[in-house]
Amino acid sequence: MSTQTTVHQTKWWSGGKSPFNLEYGKLMMWYFLMSDAFTFGAFLISYGSIRFSQNFWPDPNVVFNAFPGAGHANLPLAFVSIMTFILIISSVTMVLAVHAGHKEDKKGVIKWLAWTIVGGLAFLGCQAWEWHHLITGEHAVLATAADGKQYIDIIGQTMGGNPWGQLADHNTAMVALNNSSHETLLHLVRESGIKDNGQLAGLSHEKLVGMVQLEHLHIREKGPIAFGGYFYGITGFHGFHVFSGVIINIIMLLMSQKGVFERRGHYLMIEKAGLYWHFVDLVWVFVFLCFYLI
């Protein structure tokens, strides 16, 4: 490349040539991606700004420790590492699709694009599971009633509440347990693995309190709500990019199959779709960093 550019160096700006040696669409894709990088950057920096303004922030290893089918096992980072590898691998298959396009190898383009789409869908599936798990998760947290009494509430991570605060000390949790509703106690007892054949509901408040194993519950205070808001906002925006990337890739796949690019004589559209797809992978590097690692 470098030897060829020097030959043309003096004539780049004298007209008749693309000074950046790129066709319009690809150049504009680059500028779009640059502006999109600023959008994501602004989101992530705003997250950082809010995080630095708090004395306490949830530990990601505590929040993201679930794995499909593993129940309550504590597996920090396991699921998200799978998501990361899915995205890296789908990025590699996209590179191969673009390369096949350079060689005008229609079969290769179709094959590698199909694998990329599979990777994208797998990632979206993982994200859907993760969101579902966080939103519907049932975590025991300390809550304060209007009269100032503390009780135990069961919440998931939503835009209205965050269950990942600091661990409550034993005495506070015990007092809160005594103030909790019958239903909450029933839930906590069932959670601790005691089989319920309908007899539990008839038990007295004191009996239920006695059956709750407090040290296994890890009752926490409520955490910063902004955590959930930023998490859903930013991973959602990224997931939307993955989704639109999958749609674009599907369109590219159909167009390749119908021979549109073959007739056109070049597969430059695959390159543009490829740029977008790699950008999605690039953004994930930073989403992964900001939410799961630090």
Binding site: H8, G41, S46, H278
Partner: protein, 154 residues
């Protein structure tokens, strides 16, 4: 390879020979995977440090800095190899990279702003400090006579 629709694009990328191309892609893939595995390892190390009785804040911060640098390395490889930015003309690369320099100011300014807001609130809003300061830090503060301002990163 000629692109009939784009005559103004005068220099074309070589169609690299397959073996060299595959080698480069394989090398980059392995590199990205290794970096990710190291990142995960550091993440788990941070988790273990946090679980311990006395988490060493400096050590945690150092590990977090390492993860940030590794992520930048990953970003560099994705952009320069997978997105082929490294193969473009220098002027073109600069129109992408130079505006991104804005991030240097962006990150420093807004992180500092958040941190300063926290320090001001801790100073002037005792309720905020009392209700949100992690317990371990509070105990430390009681031992020391002057409250020490901690950085917000856990």
């Amino acid at each position: 390879m000629q692109h009939p629709a784009f005559e103004e694009v005068t220099v074309h990328h070589h169609v690299q020979d397959d073996a060299a191309f595959r080698k480069k892609v394989r090398k980059t893939t392995i590199l990205l995977s290794i970096i990710t595995v190291i990142e995960l390892g550091i993440g788990l190390t941070i988790y273990t440090i946090h679980k311990g009785a006395n988490p060493n804040a400096t050590l945690v911060l150092m590990f977090k800095g390492m993860v940030c640098i590794l992520s930048l390395a990953k970003a560099f490889y994705i952009v320069s190899v997978f997105m082929h930015l490294g193969d473009e003309i220098r002027n073109m690369i600069m129109t992408i990279v130079v505006p991104l320099m804005l991030f240097i100011w962006f990150i420093i300014a807004f992180i500092t702003d958040g941190n300063s807001y926290k320090n001001l609130r801790n100073k002037y809003d005792p309720h905020f400090k009392e209700s949100t300061m992690p317990k371990k830090h509070q105990q430390k503060d009681k031992k020391e006579t002057t409250p020490v301002e901690k950085s917000g990163k856990e």
